[in-house]
């Protein structure tokens, strides 16, 4: 098991035995937040009903293609090689050890002994190989295949029944692999079928699945964490509507709600018998500027827009104050993050001057937003209006919004869950980003990222990342205005729900227990 790395903003505390181990720090910040009240020892038994929001997609049960509510179902059915700690660092789960070679071109993963799948088969190297080949199979067309694109799926070596060595494609580094593979890397047996043989080694066995409505699960007695999960049965109910779910929680129709939006949180905090747990995460909230757009290709225009953003105001209105401001850079918790880069201030005068210089004294652009990003887009448009810019907000439904980075779009709302620096880069502006949201291609930046991806040693990676961040800050295409808190709510009878640095507080189904069991 990889010992967690404790970080704080002033420095880096490495635990012993880290040399040679490439560990990508997750999203941990200061000490992991404590649960407010000592809840006592977890009790076994009972039934837990979780309400999750899935307005449109019914989703499926596929380990490697989960969408919508399928993600939380995945947490119940599947286990991965690693998992996130509450301080948001990857730590070993099914993997007993993970060793990245010093040149970042290969990694050796060893499984624990005696792991079992739901149908009794032992988890072996064969299943591991099957799983990684499945998620990267072009025929499966998993949207997350890009996250493991660095791995060469044809040169996987099985070293022994529990150990596997993965090689990278030439020139690509595997330093970010844990961070990227964790999310959707469920380990499945070789006889897995997403519809007819839904089997994993997660805390719960699937009992029934009604797409778009609810799914039920029963405890898997041979889960690799002894004594867990605590509840006998799990039920995940899908709601189309936030208000409806909030009412259901208030009236006891469900026990727990994940990812509670701010309005419902205010309501639920006032409700007797319900508690709201707020996790201060580094989930990115961004406005992505398309570098191919004629006006935005000029770095002065991009800088101007960044200066126009009144970040505290955006946090106050779009996040109702439940968040922190950003400095156009992601992953502040990453040990390689450069904290010396000055916070960009709100400077409309300088912005206007830059725009005039660039020849666009009164700019007209469209911000394309989905339902989640619309409030921020509207607030930013209003802020920009005071400086004479005409920013229109185009709110699209999910389907129309899903088309990635078409050249026509000027500014798009965006955001990703908090991850390490390199993993975030792979979601945003790295040369191998699964989709480059802003068409940002800077040769020096690309070279730095690629070098960093092959550099498992944190200290040696720092200068590379620092320089890359300076480039992002000076001429990048992202306007990261803030990070949002994530809330989960539960009835007082539920234990095990604590605030974390991650957004996964509401998904740790193997840790929840009933106080009245």
């Amino acid at each position: 098991m990889i010992a967690p790395l404790l970080l704080d903003r002033r420095g880096l505390l490495a635990t012993a035995g880290m040399t040679g181990l490439g560990l990508l720090a997750g999203c941990g910040g200061a000490r992991a937040p404590q649960a407010g009240v000592d809840e006592g020892k977890p009790r076994r038994g009972g039934r837990l009903r979780i309400g999750t929001i899935e307005p449109t997609q019914a989703g499926n049960l596929d380990a490697h293609k989960p969408v919508g509510a399928g993600i939380i179902r995945g947490w119940a059915i599947y286990s991965k090689l690693w998992e996130w700690t509450k301080a948001c660092e990857p730590t070993g789960a099914l993997a007993e050890s993970t060793e990245i070679a010093p040149d970042g071109q290969s990694v050796v993963i060893r499984l624990h002994q005696g792991l079992e799948f739901h149908h009794g088969k032992t988890v072996s190297a064969e299943d591991l190989v099957y799983s990684i080949r499945r998620i990267s199979d072009p025929q499966l067309a998993s949207p997350y295949a890009g996250l493991v694109a660095a791995v060469n799926r044809d040169t996987i070596e099985t070293l022994d029944p529990r150990t596997v060595r993965l090689h990278a494609h030439p020139g690509k580094g595997l330093v970010a692999l844990m961070d990227t593979w964790i999310s959707f890397g469920g380990i499945v047996p070789t006889d897995y079928d997403p519809v007819h043989n839904v089997v994993g080694c997660g805390p719960f066995r699937l009992k029934s699945f009604k797409p778009g409505q609810r799914s039920t699960f029963t405890r898997f007695e041979n889960y690799f964490k002894p004594g867990q999960p605590y509840v006998d049965e799990l039920e995940i109910i899908e709601f189309k509507d936030q208000t409806a779910r909030a009412y259901a929680l208030q009236s006891g129709q469900i026990d727990l709600a994940d990812l509670v939006p701010v309005e419902q949180a205010q309501l639920l905090r006032r409700s007797p018998g319900v508690k709201v747990v707020t996790s201060p995460t580094n989930n990115v909230q961004s406005l992505d500027m398309n570098v191919l757009h004629p006006a935005l290709s000029d770095v002065r225009v991009r800088q101007a827009l960044r200066l126009l953003a009144d970040r505290p105001d955006l946090v106050k209105r779009a996040l109702h104050g439940e968040g922190t401001t950003g400095n156009d850079l992601y992953s502040p918790h990453d040990p390689t993050y450069d904290h010396d880069i000055a916070q960009r201030a709100h400077d409309p005068d300088k912005a206007k001057w830059l725009l005039a210089q660039a020849g666009h004294p009164s700019l007209a652009l469209t911000i394309t937003a989905n339902a989640a990003g619309a409030p921020a887009a509207l607030v930013f448009a209003e802020q920009a209006r005071k400086s004479g810019l005409d920013l229109k907000v185009e709110r699209l439904d999910a389907a129309s919004f899903a088309v990635p980075a078409p050249p026509g779009r000027a500014i798009t709302t965006g955001g990703i869950p908090a991850r390490g620096f390199l993993a975030s880069a792979l979601h945003y502006d790295a040369p191998d980003a699964i989709i480059n949201r802003t068409n940002f291609h800077d040769p020096r930046f690309g070279a730095l990222i690629n070098a960093a991806l092959s550099q498992p040693d944190v200290e040696k990676r720092k200068p590379l990342v620092h320089e890359a961040q300076h480039i992002q800050h000076d001429r990048g295409s992202l306007l990261i205005w803030g990070f949002t808190h994530v809330r989960a709510a539960a009835r007082d009878t539920i234990g095990g729900l604590v605030a974390e640095k991650t957004q996964f507080g509401g998904w740790r189904v193997d840790e929840f227990w009933r106080k009245d069991a």
Binding site: A58, K240, D241, V403
Partner: protein
């Protein structure tokens, strides 16, 4: 709603049948014609919806996989879903499958579209039955009472209330009901209708109350006024006057003689009310999170889940056509003069209809 019958198809054949000792009822050619027209209608609806969904921007494969999928992955999924074939080919293929009851799988969740849709349709129909079961007697009693006590204070107040409810948009009523009955001091009903799919909706009546009330307030005014107007007109007929002269008790006159003859327009009204409930239900479903067919359609359109959209459009069209057909048929059967003609005219004349529309005086 009823249409005028087309030229009776193949009267010659009917004559020959009848000559050959097989006595066909007079309305048979009409029914056959209507069935044919209904079939054509359903086909047309399905074709239009099919074309419309294919014209939607952004393809289902991209929607399913999300913006983070590579273009290659999307292309492969498109191929797997058969979306690259010409539209006409896809449509014909779909028709062929539908003819044997195979509506394909939901692109979103991979379960058979038919099962998904039927269940949601079942929920909607359950709600509709619940609403109509309550509305029908209420509308009858109210409408008859109002017609009999025409122009009394009771009639006037009831009329005002009905007009009020009829005018207010359904979501306004829904929001008001939630505020009244689900929050605050009177919080006795659930604001959310999270039906347990393993149970029949009728086994969970509490969840049906608020949505049904909203729909009831939408439909009751219409039906009540229809009954009232129809009965008013019937009560003015000569034979009613004659019955009064003969000394029959008023109650018997009303219920035994007048009401049955006032029924035909009401049946048409019922069909229309059913359509109103199925139609107004989308907003009710959204506000109360009721898992019905309206929100299923909305979700399917949003996710470009084409098989589900088409399944819903087709099945709903069939349902609507069927209801209309049943209503027209019932009207024909109930009206002796219509029973015996081959060209039933289901309208009682434009004058009467205009008066009905205007709510009767």
């Amino acid at each position: 709603m009823a249409t005028q019958a087309g030229a009776p198809p193949s009267v010659g054949i009917v004559d020959r049948w009848q000559a050959a000792r097989l006595p066909l009822p007079g309305w048979f050619p009409w029914l056959a014609g209507r069935l044919l027209a209904g079939f054509g209608t359903v086909l047309a609806v399905s074709a239009i919806v099919y074309l419309a969904t294919l014209a939607l921007p952004s393809d289902p494969a991209r929607v399913i996989l999300g913006p983070e999928a590579t273009d290659k992955a999307v292309a492969i999924l498109r191929e797997q879903l058969g979306l690259n074939r010409p539209i006409a080919v896809q449509y014909v293929d779909w028709l062929r499958h539908v003819a044997v009851g195979d509506f394909g799988n939901s692109l979103d969740s991979n379960v058979p579209a038919f099962g998904l849709v039927i269940e949601r349709l079942g929920n909607s129909i359950a709600l509709m039955i619940f609403v109509l079961l309550v509305t029908a007697p209420a509308a009858f009693l109210l409408g008859v009472a109002m017609a009999v006590k025409r122009d009394s204070r009771f009639d006037r107040t009831a009329m005002t209330l009905l007009i009020g409810f009829k005018a207010v948009p359904p979501f306004a009523i829904a929001v008001a009901l939630i505020l009244l009955f689900s929050t605050g001091p009177l919080a006795i009903l659930p604001a959310v209708s999270i039906l347990d799919p393993s149970l029949s909706p009728f086994a969970q009546p509490l969840y049906l109350v608020l949505p049904a009330t909203t729909l009831l307030l939408l439909v009751l005014p219409f039906l009540t006024r229809l009954i009232r107007a129809s009965l008013t007109e019937t009560l003015e007929a000569d034979y009613i006057a004659a019955a009064r002269l003969r000394g029959l008790p008023e109650r018997r006159i009303v219920w035994r003689h007048a009401v049955p003859n006032a029924l035909p327009p009401v049946i048409q009204g019922f069909a229309m009310a059913t359509r109103m409930v199925l139609g107004g239900a989308l907003i009710v479903e959204v506000v109360f999170s009721y898992p019905g067919i309206g929100s299923a359609l909305n979700a399917a359109i949003e996710t470009r889940d084409i098989p589900v959209v088409q399944a819903i459009a087709l099945l709903t069209a069939i349902a609507v056509v069927f209801i209309n057909l049943v209503a027209d048929f019932a009207t024909v059967l109930l009206t002796p003069r219509l029973r015996t003609t081959t060209r039933p005219r289901l309208r009682s004349g434009t004058g009467a209809r205009l008066r009905l529309r205007a709510g009767g005086a």
